[in-house]
C-alpha cells in the first residue's frame, strides 16, 4: 500500500488528464498575460512620449517606440522651477516623517505585543477603531489651525503619524517571536526599550524593512493633506507640483483657456514629469515585492 501512492501520483501527472490541463493552462496564460499587458502598455506609452518630439506625438496615436529619441523634454522640464520645490518638500516630509512613523509604530506595536497586561484588549480596540471610524478632514483642519501648524511642514508630517493597519501587522509579527528571548534579557537586567532596540528589531528586519518601505511610498505619494494644510507656494510637495504641471494645464487646454503654461508644456514634458516622479517608487518596488506577501500573510489575515 505504501508504494501505491507515488505510483498513483505519477500516473495522474503523465496520464491523459495532462493534455486537458494544458489547454486550461494556455487559457490562463493568455488571460493573465493580456491583463499584464494592459497594465504595462500605458507605461510604455508614457516613457515613449517623454522621449519623443511633439511633432511625432501629434502624428501617431500608437506611440510605443519613438523614431527619434530626444532629451529635450527632460531638459525643459527640469528648467521649470516648480519640480525642484516639489522634490525639496517631499524629501523634507520623508526625512522628518519616516523616523516619526517608525518610532511611533514600532514602540506601540511592541508594547501591544507584550503578553498580558491590564487594558491590553482596550488598547488594541483603541487602535482598531480608528480604522473603522474617523473624524474626517474638517475637525483635522481645525485642529491643525488651533495647533498653529497650518502652512508648516509639520502639519503634513504629524497628521500621518501611525498607520493602524501597519501597526497591527507589526504587532502580529512581534507576537510570533519566542517570549523566552525577552524573559532572559529581562533577567539580565535589560529594560523594555533596550529589549526592543537590541533584540527585537534585529530579529524583525524583514517586517521592519517592509513597513519602512510602505511608509516611504506613502510619504512619497503624499498630497491631499498638503493640499489642505499648506497653501504656500514654496512648500508644494512633488505630487502636487506634478498635478499643477500636468492636470491643471490639461484642464485649461480642454476648456480652451488661453494659458501660457499650456503652451509651454508639451505632452512630452508632462510625461517626463511623470517618469521622474515615478522613478523612485519603481526602484524601491522590487525590495518591497520580496517582503510584502509574507507581511500580508502574517498581518492581514489574522487582523
Amino acid at each position: 500500500m505504501e508504494e501505491a501512492r507515488p505510483l498513483l501520483k505519477k500516473g495522474y501527472r503523465s496520464g491523459k488528464r495532462n493534455n486537458k490541463l494544458q489547454s486550461l493552462d494556455i487559457i490562463l496564460l493568455v488571460i493573465l498575460t493580456s491583463f499584464a499587458a494592459a497594465i504595462i502598455l500605458p507605461f510604455i506609452n508614457v516613457v515613449a512620449t517623454s522621449f519623443a518630439t511633439q511633432q511625432e506625438y501629434l502624428k501617431t496615436t500608437l506611440l510605443l517606440i519613438p523614431s527619434t529619441v530626444t532629451f529635450e523634454n527632460y531638459k525643459a522640464f527640469f528648467a521649470d522651477g516648480r519640480i525642484w520645490i516639489g522634490f525639496r518638500t517631499t524629501l523634507l516630509i520623508l526625512g522628518l516623517g519616516l523616523p516619526i512613523n517608525m518610532f511611533l509604530t514600532t514602540s506601540m506595536a511592541y508594547g501591544l505585543s507584550r503578553p498580558d497586561f491590564p487594558f491590553k484588549r482596550f488598547l488594541v480596540y483603541f487602535v482598531a477603531v480608528t480604522m473603522l471610524f474617523n473624524g474626517g478632514i474638517i475637525p483635522l483642519y481645525l485642529l491643525m489651525k488651533q495647533l498653529h501648524l497650518i502652512n508648516t511642514i509639520w502639519s503634513v508630517v504629524l497628521v500621518y503619524g501611525v498607520n493602524s493597519f501597519y501597526l497591527i501587522i507589526m504587532m502580529n509579527y512581534f507576537t510570533t517571536l519566542p517570549i523566552s528571548l525577552m524573559e532572559s534579557a529581562k533577567l539580565d537586567g535589560a529594560g523594555e526599550w533596550r529589549i526592543l532596540f537590541k533584540i527585537i528589531l534585529p530579529l524583525s528586519m524583514p517586517i521592519i524593512a517592509t513597513i519602512i518601505l510602505f511608509y516611504a511610498v506613502d510619504r512619497w505619494n503624499e498630497w491631499f493633506n498638503a493640499m489642505i494644510f499648506i497653501r504656500r507656494g514654496d512648500l508644494v510637495p512633488l505630487q502636487l507640483a506634478l498635478r499643477s504641471i500636468v492636470i491643471d494645464s490639461q484642464i485649461s487646454a480642454q476648456m480652451n483657456v488661453s494659458n501660457v503654461q499650456t503652451e509651454q508644456f508639451s505632452q512630452g514634458m508632462k510625461m517626463a514629469a511623470v517618469i521622474v516622479t515615478m522613478l523612485p517608487v519603481m526602484f524601491v518596488f522590487p525590495f518591497l515585492q520580496r517582503h510584502f506577501v509574507k507581511g500580508m500573510l502574517i498581518g492581514a489575515i489574522k487582523a
Binding site: 491583463f35 518610532f103 497586561f117 480596540y125 485642529l143 501597526l167
Partner: protein, 327 residues
C-alpha cells in the same frame, strides 16, 4: 451569619483584585511607557478629530475653537437636508459604490484563483509584480497615465483605430465616467487586493489538495471545492469592509480624473464635502454635519454587514479581531 461571612469574603476578594490590578499595572509600567508616544499621537490626531465631529451640533466660532463653540442641536442638519445637491451626492455615491461591489470586488478573487492555477513559477512572479505595481503610485500619477492613454491622441484610441473603430472620447463624456472609474480602479488596485487572497490561498493546507488529487478531482473541481471555500472567510471580511465604505467613493480618483465635462457625474459625497468646506464660503459646522452623517452611515453599514455575515454562518469581522487580541 453565613451571608455576612460570604459578603466579607467577597469584599476582601474585590479589594485583593483591585490591589493586584494596580500591582499588575505597576508591573507592566514599561509596556505602557513603550505605548505612551503612540497613545499620545492617537489621542491628538485620531480621537480629538472624532470629538470634532460634534461640531455638527454646534456653530463653529473660530475664536472659541471646537470645544468652546456653542451647541445648537440639529439646526445644521436642517440645512443639510434642504440642500438638494447633498441628497443627490448621497445617491450618486451609493450608486457608484454598488457598481464597485459588482465590477471591482470579484476581480481580485478571480485573478488570485487564476494565478494560483498557473503553473509557470517564475512567470507567476513576474505577473504578480506587474499587477501590484500600480498600487504604489499615487492617484495623481495613475490619473495622468490614464489621461494620456485614454485621450483622443492616446494609445487606446490608437488601438481602436487600428482595429478599424471610431475614436472614443473616454475622458470628456459624463456617460462613460462611471465605467471609467471601475476600469481605472481595477487597473490600479485589483493586483494589490489579489495579494490578500493569494496569501489566504497559501494558508490552505496542502493535504487537502493531495487527498483531492488522489480522489481524482479535476483542477476546476479542486478550485471550486477546496480553494474557494478555503478563502471564504477572507472574502467575507473584505466584503464587510467594502460595504462599510459605501458612503466613501474614492475622492483621490475622482478628484484627479474628472474634468469640467464630467464634474457632475463625479460629484460624490466626498467631493461635495470638499467643495462646501474649502471652495465656497466655508461653513465648518455644515460640512461637519455632512461628515458625521457619512461616518455614522458607514459604521452602521459595517456593523449591519457583519451581522448579516454572522447570521449566514460566517465568522464576520470581530471574532477574528478578538482572537488576535487573546493570543
Amino acid at each position: 451569619m453565613e451571608n455576612i461571612i460570604a459578603e466579607k469574603k467577597k469584599a476582601s476578594l474585590i479589594e485583593k483584585n483591585q490591589a493586584s490590578l494596580i500591582r499588575r499595572i505597576w508591573k507592566s509600567r514599561e509596556s505602557y511607557q513603550l505605548m505612551l508616544p503612540g497613545i499620545v499621537w492617537y489621542v491628538i490626531f485620531a480621537y480629538i478629530p472624532m470629538y470634532g465631529l460634534f461640531l455638527a451640533f454646534k456653530t463653529y466660532k473660530a475664536n472659541l475653537g471646537i470645544f468652546g463653540s456653542p451647541w445648537v442641536g440639529f439646526v445644521n442638519y436642517d440645512y443639510v437636508f434642504r440642500d438638494p445637491a447633498f441628497m443627490e451626492s448621497v445617491w450618486r455615491t451609493l450608486w457608484i459604490n454598488a457598481g464597485r461591489i459588482l465590477f471591482e470586488f470579484p476581480l481580485p478573487i478571480i485573478l488570485a484563483l487564476m494565478l494560483n492555477e498557473l503553473r509557470l513559477g517564475r512567470y507567476k512572479k513576474v505577473i504578480q509584480t506587474i499587477y501590484t505595481f500600480p498600487h504604489f503610485l499615487s492617484w495623481i500619477i495613475v490619473s495622468i497615465v490614464m489621461i494620456n492613454s485614454l485621450d483622443t491622441q492616446g494609445i487606446v484610441n490608437g488601438i481602436i483605430k487600428m482595429l478599424g473603430g471610431h475614436e472614443v472620447n473616454f475622458l470628456g463624456s459624463a456617460k462613460i465616467f462611471q465605467p471609467l472609474l471601475y476600469v481605472t480602479d481595477n487597473w490600479k488596485s485589483s493586483g494589490w487586493s489579489m495579494i490578500i487572497f493569494l496569501a489566504a490561498i497559501a494558508g490552505i493546507e496542502t493535504e487537502q489538495y493531495e487527498s483531492a488529487q488522489l480522489d481524482g478531482a479535476t483542477r476546476m473541481q479542486t478550485m471550486w471545492y477546496i480553494t474557494l471555500p478555503g478563502i471564504k472567510s477572507t472574502i467575507v471580511v473584505m466584503l464587510i469592509l467594502t460595504v462599510g465604505n459605501l458612503m466613501t467613493a474614492g475622492f483621490d480618483q475622482i478628484f484627479n480624473l474628472s474634468n469640467a465635462a464630467t464634474a457632475k457625474a463625479g460629484e460624490i459625497l466626498d467631493m461635495y464635502i470638499y467643495r462646501v468646506t474649502f471652495q465656497s464660503a466655508a461653513d465648518f459646522s455644515f460640512s461637519s454635519a455632512v461628515s458625521l452623517f457619512r461616518a455614522v452611515i458607514n459604521l452602521a453599514l459595517l456593523l449591519f454587514a457583519d451581522r448579516v455575515c454572522k447570521w449566514l454562518g460566517s465568522e464576520g469581522l470581530f471574532p477574528s479581531a478578538k482572537k488576535s487580541v487573546r493570543t
